[in-house]
């Protein structure tokens, strides 16, 4: 008995193939449409040739110096106010100098062991003409670091009234050269021509945008309408919210129920704080 082979084709085979192709096309089309409709672009802000990323472009001590400068730029205006608060009438306003920074323990200017570990940069202040006739910008130059292949830093504080730019702004510049002279001015184009590069941070705000979408920060800020705007509770409900000092969550219902629920919330908060353990539960 010899074996025989038969090819068995399903009766609706051709139809099944077409149906499968149609379903695949429909699925891909639907997914494509959904991505087009709801997709979010997570773009990273570009770094230009005349810029350098603090996150990816700087390393070790230079990165640490930049991060200190980045925080200090928020504090310098406060210190400026403090040191000029009790000026005599007509006395010139002045920017904090290196001695002031020693009093405020302000890195990267403060001369401690960390400053030594980070190359003992020599900082100098350039303060332009007196207030009212100021031309140019205030600059702090950090140069002559002792570590191999260490760069120099320049913190530029621009002034609206000097026609420097449209807003008061502080910009941090870096150059790979170990020694630099104080620039003649803090104008961007001139600094770029000398080889300085603006340092841009990879900030927490950029990371939040990457993680939660480009409008995450704006969404969070959109909730900031002052406090309390209209007694509306945090969860957005409009019924039963209390506006007295003991208010907690907005709980619909009568006062007794609200108070009981608020007491429960207070107990939960105490539990979280690690206080009154064992009392409530």
């Amino acid at each position: 008995m010899s074996a025989m082979a038969y090819e068995v084709r399903p009766a609706g085979g051709r139809l099944e193939g077409l149906a499968m192709i149609a379903a695949t096309v429909a699925l891909v089309g639907a997914l494509g449409f959904y991505v087009y409709w709801r997709g979010e672009e997570h773009s990273i802000e570009p770094i230009y040739d005349w810029q350098v990323s603090a996150f990816a472009g700087l390393t070790g001590p230079d990165q640490a110096i930049y991060n200190s400068l980045y925080t200090v730029k928020d504090e310098i205006p406060f210190i400026y106010d403090d040191i000029n608060r009790f000026n005599e009438p007509g006395q010139k306003f002045h920017w904090p100098n290196l001695t002031d920074f020693q009093d405020w323990l302000l890195p990267p200017f403060y001369k401690d062991t960390s400053w030594e570990q980070q190359g003992s940069l020599n900082w100098t202040l350039f303060e332009p003409l007196p207030e009212g006739e100021m031309q140019g910008s205030t600059m702090y130059l950090g140069t002559d670091g002792k570590l191999p292949s260490q760069g120099s830093f320049l913190l530029v504080i621009g002034h609206v009234h000097a026609g420097f730019q449209n807003t008061n702004a502080m910009v941090i510049w870096w150059i790979s050269k170990n020694h630099m002279e104080m620039p003649k001015s803090g104008f961007r184009d001139g600094l770029i021509l000398q080889g300085w590069r603006e340092v841009v941070p990879y900030s927490g705000q950029q990371e939040v945008k990457r993680l939660f979408g480009a409008d995450a920060v704006e969404r969070a800020k959109a909730q900031f309408n002052g406090f309390p705007p209209d007694g509306t509770p945090a969860d957005g409900s409009t019924d039963g919210g209390s506006t007295d000092g003991s208010s907690t969550a907005a709980v619909p219902g009568d006062d007794a129920a609200t108070k009981a629920k608020n007491a429960d919330v207070e107990q939960l908060i105490q539990d979280a704080l690690g206080q009154d353990k064992g009392k409530g539960k």
């Binding site: 603090a54 996150f55 990816a56 070790g60 001590p61 990165q63 640490a64 930049y66 991060n67 200190s68 980045y70 925080t71 928020d74 504090e75 406060f78 405020w104 323990l105 302000l106 890195p107 403060y110 401690d112 062991t113 960390s114 400053w115 030594e116 570990q117 980070q118 941070p201 990879y202 900030s203 927490g204 705000q205 990371e207 939040v208 993680l211 939660f212 920060v217 969404r219 969070a220 909730q223 900031f224 002052g226 406090f227 309390p228 007694g231 945090a234 969860d235 506006t243 007295d244 000092g245 907690t248 969550a249 919330v265 939960l268 908060i269 539990d271 979280a272 704080l273 690690g274 206080q275």
Partner: protein, 307 residues
């Protein structure tokens, strides 16, 4: 005499009214500020004083690494007016709770790291630049967060904005003084002999601020233990770099650190992640002081050993 008494009463009454006008009416509602991590409790407590109530999102003894949200967290969240978050990877569970409680886009959020210049995880053998979320184990990055939080709270509560800002500045100086104390402890020590590795990337910000180089990090990713092969490679790197100090986690001990110490002969020191124990106003300063003291001890002992 009678008219004098009337005048006196009137003067006192007017004075009292003027005083009330100056001090303003009692705030109708106290701002209720939620926080996700222990350091943020300390930051907010030092900024707001007694002018806001602070609500921790999770229990004080919960481990924020890989935390599983609980129903009580949602109830606490719903009682908040605003919440301070790390937002860059150390409290991802807070966003799960936001979704579970239906509070996404309803609860105001303060991203504490908005203005922090982030750094990559140190000692990554692949050279990949991965964002380090441990900005709160630091001094400079912590100060930046204190300012960001104070500014945002001031926008929410403008009447207290100056109070918050002044407190933030005072607190920033307190944090900065920690560096002065640290400096006094290592005066004269030879830092050239100090070479460290750490169990995880939690201490990169503080070591960078102090000018100390981390040669290797044991955990390949935050909260992920290395494979046997990765561990062997890390031990080789520790030996090759002549690392003599290993910083391990104080609260979340791992047997791995003992294994590495035995294999390499490094001295081990515990650093606090500032993420366990009761929430207190003083916690951040106290534990950072302890951390800096530990690092100073490690530096001095490295210098003495001559290794």
């Amino acid at each position: 005499m009678l008219s004098f008494t009337r005048m006196l009463v009137r003067t006192v009454a007017v004075g009292a009214l003027a005083l009330m006008a100056l001090t303003g009416p009692a705030q109708a509602k106290t701002l209720r500020v939620g926080i996700t991590l222990h350091p943020y409790y300390s930051f907010v407590a030092n900024i707001v004083g007694d002018r806001a109530k602070i609500i921790p999102l999770i229990d004080s003894d919960a481990n924020p690494h890989g935390y599983a949200p609980q129903p009580a967290d949602m109830i606490r969240m719903m009682s908040m007016d605003v919440m301070v978050v790390n937002g860059i990877g150390h409290d991802t569970w807070a966003f799960e709770i936001l979704d579970a409680a239906g509070m996404r886009n309803k609860l105001k959020l303060i991203y504490a790291n908005d203005g922090v210049s982030l750094i990559p995880v140190a000692g990554d053998p692949t050279g990949e630049k991965v964002v380090n979320p441990h900005t709160f184990i630091s001094t400079t990055a912590a100060i930046q967060q204190v300012y960001t939080i104070a500014r945002a709270l001031g926008e929410l509560d403008p009447e207290n904005a100056t109070f918050f800002r002044d407190n933030a500045r005072r607190y920033a100086l307190e944090i900065r003084k920690l560096r002065g104390e640290f400096d006094a402890k290592i005066q004269g020590a030879d830092l050239s002999k100090f070479r460290c590795a750490s169990m995880h990337s939690g201490y990169d910000y503080i070591t960078q601020e102090l000018g100390l180089q981390v040669s290797a990090v044991i955990e390949p990713r935050h909260g992920v233990e290395p494979t046997a092969r990765q561990l062997a490679e890390t031990i080789d790197r520790i030996k090759a770099a002549n690392v003599n100090v290993l910083f391990a986690e104080k609260y979340f001990a791992s047997k791995l650190s003992d294994t590495i110490r035995d294999a390499t002969g490094v001295r081990m020191y515990s650093i606090s992640h500032i993420s366990s124990g009761p929430y207190t106003k003083e916690k951040f300063i106290e534990e950072m002081r302890e951390n800096l003291t530990t690092i100073a001890t490690a530096i001095r002992e490295s210098a003495k050993s001559g290794s």
